[in-house]
Each structure stands twice: as structure tokens, then as C-alpha cells.
Symmetry: C2
Subunit: 305 residues, 2 copies
């Protein structure tokens, strides 16, 4: 393409693909019972992907790990979405969403991706965020400190900037509620300097590698906590909010559905089941009520008193 | 406002409000157990509404009957949505969605509305559509013939035109599936002639009045049909599609959520629960499989062989 891009996109994509395999193996081991099915799919126009989904496991009720590598000519939606001009494009990435059976274990999402345009632009994007059905401040602090650790190894500005972006992105505007306790979100991460661009790839890899050990810890911290019908019902309502965010506000989902992406792969992010009760109210002093108090932008988890 | 509008908007709104009361009374009687709660709400900027919701009835699992009468200055979203210029606006309407407990009874939706702009434009809009979890052709034919009957009393062109609009509107693009067996949909129905405009109000009223007796018939035709876990699971999946349509494609829902409408009133249309199974497949020759075959645009229910 004669572009100044010097990263090898094939090696980036190969890394995402390898991460998918590793994650599925690790998650199967963690779950102890469920197995990921494997659906490769081609994309009209160029490229394709591999969708892997585990349903009705021992710990995971529904989980998806998607890999894709797609390329071709940008259409008008893509031009609009990426705020770019018409050209060739190449995009590769991995995205993960896990819905656990236990309402005491959080939902987790992670996504990392790489874009390259015929014009020569290229960038990394990604994010990871945690959606506990019941917010435990100590878990949230653990998660954010671990994330800050990863970010700080690359740039001390990353965590504060990307934490704020996550607060803004994973926000359910019509509920005036964050989806969960946030995490990090970054997009259009790029550098004209080749060496620095390679560092950004290392950062993206570090985010990808961060995912499993942290979720394993969160599962182990919470998997023996008891729950009953009350907690399962609350989980249903929180899953309802997850559905609302993904279908109404998530840019990737909207973009995918509007541009004839592979629907089943896009909507693997939805839970097995979700509930809606009209104007549901929580009892003051209940765990449900306390959870809602944490679903705000701008909570400083690192310095939580 | 010095506009050429000669319909009295207050009397139109009063009619919708009265319809809301009548529908709730009739539906409570039909249900035999559930009661509609009543939530009046004010709107910042002008007007407000009354939301009525019944949950956990004998026949209806979740049903909402919304009335609203709102007015003020158009904001940029409304200007965009209505394809109009900035001015005063007035809008009143009623909308109904019923999710029955039994998967053998269809979901139904009805909405009628009246708009008036400071510029002098005014119009009626509305629609009614049926979403059976299991399509019975004889019920679909009954429903469409009854609708055609109502339409034909006003204009023989109405039914074919509005039936097509419903097929196009109640379409889940990312599934290449209609939401159900359609019905009618109309918008911007208007006439410069006063007398004809009054006729259009009569037509709108006829659609509103059509709703209850037809749904009562559909309930009575299906309420004793047996079902088990298999049918309840399929209902969960079909409800998932209903959620997808409403959150991704329904213009009223999108518009309401993006312009800070009253979220609980807008989302009363969502079912009590919904399910998603990755890449769910139906057995050929099963009732579920047969249902999917009917979820296409352009089925000629009136002349079905």
C-alpha cells in the first residue's frame, strides 16, 4: 500500500489470535466443565473471524471470545465512524465478555484492536471494564490498582486518562448510571515514531495478558459467596442494564449491526437471560441500594478512603 | 399561535386519555387479576404523561399503557427527527405493549399520536402490530382481515399502503426477520382540508378502538392451548428479539432515550424477561421452525392460500 506503517499487521493479528486460544484454554480450566465451541466465519469483502462461545458451564453461564481480522474498502458507515477518508482498511482484534452464573461474581469485558488505513494511519484501541452485580469496594480497588500497575509500566498518564475515558464510554446515559465500576478505555492510540508504536503494541498486549489472571482472582475471591433468589433476580435486572448499554450505546455493537456484521458474533456479548421490572426500587441500606451508589463517574478507586 | 390548524388539539388529547382509561379497565377485566398502577409524570419543558403498568397478572405478565401530552420548543433532535424547522410543537398520543404469560398468546403493540407544529403543520401517526411467539396463520389472517376492515371504512388505499409500511418498519434488519406478522403503520397523515383532517382523526380513533376487542379475541382463541418448558424457552428467545428491535431499531425508543424522555415509560415496552442463546437453531418441521418461515416482509395475509 506504500504507507509509512512499519508495524507488521500480520504479527499483531497473530498475537490476538494466539491470545484467543490461550484465553479459551485458561477459561475452560477455570470453569472446570464448560467447553468453548469454535465457529470460524468468512466476511464478504475480505477477511473473517473465529467466534468462540461457552454456554452453561460450571462458573460461566455464557461467555464469548471473538477474534477477527477484516479488510477491504471502507464503506460510508466506516468512513463516518472512523472519521477518515475513503480508502483501504485493515482491522484486527479480540473481544471477550463473560457472564458468570453466580451474581456474586462480576461480568467482565475486554477488547483490544488494531486499525490500519490505506492512507497510512494506524492505531491501537481497547479497553477492559468490570460490571459487578454487587459492587464490593475492595474488589473494585483491587481491579483498578492492578490496571494502574499495567498502565504505569508504559506511561504514568495512561491510567488517569484511560480511566476517565472508560467512565465516559461505559455510561448508560438514559439511566444516568455507569455500566459497572469502569476500568480503562483507549482509542486512536498512535505514534509517528516506529519504536513508540511498537511500545503501544506492547501496551496493548499487556492489557490483553492482564485479563485472565485478574478475572481468575476475582472469581476465586467470590465464588463461594452464598446467594439465593433475591440475588439472582437482581442479577437479572443488572443484566437488563447490560443489554440496554450494549444495544443502545455501545458503538461497536451499533456499528456492527448497522453494517451487516456477523450478528451472532456481535451479540455474543448479551447474557443468557435478562429482566426488566417497571420502575424497580431498592430498599435503602440493602446491598442492591449500595451498589447503585457506586455506579457513578469519577470514583477515585486508587485513593478510596 | 395563528396557525391554520383547525382541529382542537385538546379534544384529540382528551380522546387519547379517555382511551387509556378504557383500555386499562378492559384489560384488567380480561386479565381477571392484575391491576394497572398509575404514574403521572411531568415533563421539563412542558406537559407530561400518565404511565400505567400491570405486572404479574393472570394473563398479562407485563403490560404498559402510556398516555402523554407534551409541548414546548423543538430542540435539535426533534427538528432532525421530524424533518421540520425550529418552532413550537405539541404532541399527544397513547401507546400500548402487552407481554402475555402464555407463549401461545401473541405480544401486541398499538400506538396512535397527533403532532402540531407552530408552523401550522399537523398530522396523525400510529400503528398496530402483532408478535406471536408461535405464528398461527389463521390468527394472522383474522388479525389482518379485521385491520383491513377498519381501514377500508375510510380509504381502500389505507390497508395496502399501511400494511407495507408496517412490514418495513417492524423489521429487525440485523436478523433479516420481521418482528412478528406486522399490521399497519402510518405517519404524517394529514390533509389541508379541515373536513378530511377530521376524518383522519376518526380513522385514528378507529385504530385505537380496534385494539381491545381484537386482542380479547386473540386471547380467547389461545388461552387454553397447553405449553411447557420448551415453549417458555422459545418465548424467552422471541422476547430477546423484541428487545433487540426496540432498543436497536425502534425510532420512538431511540428518540426518547437520546432526548432524556422518561426512561421507565419508554422501556415499559420491554418484557419481564428475555433470553439469548448463541446461534440458536430450530429443528426442521418444528413449530418454532415454521414460525420463523412466516417472519418475512410481504406475506399477503388477506389472500393467503
Amino acid at each position: 500500500m506504500g504507507s509509512p506503517v512499519c508495524m507488521e499487521k500480520e504479527s499483531i493479528s497473530a498475537w490476538f489470535k494466539k491470545l484467543q486460544e490461550e484465553l479459551c484454554e485458561n477459561l475452560e480450566q477455570l470453569d472446570g466443565s464448560g467447553k468453548f465451541r469454535r465457529d470460524p466465519w468468512p466476511r464478504k469483502g475480505g477477511g473473517g473471524g473465529i467466534t468462540r462461545v461457552l454456554e452453561e458451564g460450571n462458573i460461566i453461564e455464557k461467555g464469548g471470545v471473538n477474534f477477527s481480522e477484516v479488510f477491504g474498502k471502507t464503506n460510508s458507515s466506516l468512513v463516518n465512524d472512523l472519521n477518515t477518508s475513503e480508502s483501504d482498511f485493515y482491522a484486527t482484534g479480540i473481544s471477550v465478555v463473560l457472564h458468570p452464573i453466580s451474581p456474586m461474581i462480576p461480568i467482565i469485558h475486554m477488547n483490544t484492536r488494531y486499525f490500519e488505513m490505506g492512507s497510512g494511519e494506524s492505531w491501537f484501541g481497547g479497553g477492559i471494564d468490570l460490571t459487578p452485580h454487587y459492587v464490593l469496594p475492595e474488589d473494585a480497588v483491587y481491579f483498578h490498582k492492578a490496571l494502574k500497575n499495567v498502565c504505569d509500566k508504559f506511561d504514568p498518564d495512561f491510567y488517569p486518562a484511560f480511566k476517565k475515558e472508560a467512565d465516559d464510554y461505559f455510561f448508560i446515559r438514559h439511566r444516568n448510571e455507569t455500566r459497572g465500576i469502569g476500568g480503562i478505555f483507549f482509542d486512536r492510540l498512535s505514534d509517528p515514531d516506529d519504536k513508540k508504536m511498537k511500545e503501544l503494541f506492547e501496551f496493548t498486549k499487556a492489557v490483553g495478558s492482564f485479563f485472565f489472571p485478574v478475572y481468575r482472582d476475582l472469581v476465586s475471591r467470590n465464588k463461594t459467596r452464598p446467594y439465593g433468589n433475591r440475588e439472582r433476580q437482581w442479577q437479572g435486572l443488572r443484566r437488563g442494564r447490560y443489554v440496554e448499554f450494549n444495544l443502545v450505546w455501545d458503538k461497536g455493537t451499533k456499528f456492527g449491526l448497522e453494517t451487516e456484521g456477523r450478528t451472532e458474533s456481535i451479540l455474543m456479548s448479551l447474557p443468557n437471560s435478562a429482566c426488566w421490572i417497571y420502575d424497580h426500587q431498592t430498599d435503602p441500606h440493602s446491598n442492591e441500594h449500595n451498589t447503585l451508589k457506586w455506579l457513578k463517574k469519577g470514583v477515585d478507586w486508587i485513593n478510596l478512603k
